[in-house]
Symmetry: C2
């Protein structure tokens, strides 16, 4: 299945500004993207990055900003991204860009054909198994809710299904699916629900991650601290 | 399968003190418990409440404190809890009480026999389907992680598996399972991961709940508010 992965290449993850500088946020966002792309491929999907600007633009920033100067990791990342990955550039807002890309898929092109999935780029806990549950679920519209009322991923088999990421999007998407008479299913996955937006979310990556994003956080000095009953994320200097 | 449900009957859910008074917290905790018990039965399990004091003690408090004076709801709740439910009273700390109850199950009694599951009482989003995935998963130890490094539910088929709920318990439980040579599995469920501890967690119940706890929050005046990009829970007076 074709899987669209929206990616904010410019100034991503602003809610991590208290623990990561702008260059680090760009690097970490890209590392999470690489994890997601790898899992999509392993789940049998064909990823298409829907980026706000060309990725090679960002790659230079990444080389400058990597806090650990881990060159082999960077080469690995660049290699995985350069190997024939389709990148669509659309600098419009997320809702507009996703709806346009989904519509293109249903028109049928050389690059795209329905059904189509959309998976967010900030899901470093997404495993091939969790993504297979999404891609293989029955339903004309299949939603994977995110924590906080969001929609972290979906599959659409109905050309008239549209998204709106403002507000409590999962409610709107349920309503949109019903309004077009599409059969609706939801995937009950903690891994797909765990989008990484703020410091608290980093705890999930540290405790449950096993790949690039997890390794990146460890190399950047992040660790889990327990102080009495409280569990927090701290960063060593 | 026998399913132990630990329940803190006295002063539960203290992290909800900013939005619920003590009587409301007791009532809401009990409503969540009722949702969990009902789902366990529907999933084919036999629940045993492991309470810090007798439930009827608490029931009086509930009658006094219900903010909505919804008598039929209370009767319904009392009825569902009185219908032959096994209640084990153990006022020791959670870790000690759970380990003792699990050990009893492996000794084999009239009430209990292995394998045994433990499911927390503050999981109002747990559905029969999500619990069936837990109960039916292969593995001598099956863990359902909670958000924040916790362990919201598990199944044990190994008499020597023990728990420790302090700190980042999911890590300790993985380690404990490995140290006794047990095969380990994890259930990837957002619903089982969503324990309700603080105000932010109420959002999940409002957006994804469909039963008593959801209804209780609505009747108590809680709703989701979106202000700009932020989604929060508010309570009307």
């Amino acid at each position: 299945m074709d899987v669209i992965v929206p990616f904010a290449a410019h100034d991503p993850k602003t809610r991590l500004s208290d623990v990561l500088d702008p260059g680090e946020r760009r690097a970490f966002a890209r590392v999470m993207l690489a994890d997601v792309l790898e899992s999509i491929v392993a789940a049998g999907g064909t990823p298409h990055v829907l980026a706000t600007r060309p990725l090679d633009h960002d790659l230079e920033a990444l080389r400058d900003a990597d806090p650990n100067s881990n060159r082999s990791f960077q080469s690995d990342l660049a290699g995985s991204l350069d190997s024939g990955l389709d990148v669509i550039v659309d600098d419009r807002d997320l809702t507009t860009a996703v709806n346009a890309a989904v519509a293109t898929a249903f028109e049928g092109t050389d690059a795209f054909e329905p059904p189509v999935a959309v998976v967010m780029a900030d899901l470093p806990l997404a495993t091939p198994a969790s993504l297979r549950r999404l891609l293989e679920a029955d339903g004309e519209v299949v939603l994977a809710p995110g924590r906080g009322g969001g929609t972290n991923a979906f599959v659409s088999r109905d050309p008239s299904f549209r998204v709106d990421y403002h507000g409590v999007s999962i409610r709107d998407h349920r309503r949109n699916a019903r309004s077009i008479g599409a059969t609706l299913a939801e995937v009950d996955s903690r891994r797909l629900a765990s989008d990484v937006d703020d410091r608290e979310d980093l705890l999930e990556v540290l405790v449950h991650g096993e790949r690039r994003a997890h390794e990146w956080l460890l190399e950047a000095g992040f660790e889990v601290a327990t102080d009495g009953g409280d569990t927090t994320v701290v960063r060593s200097e």
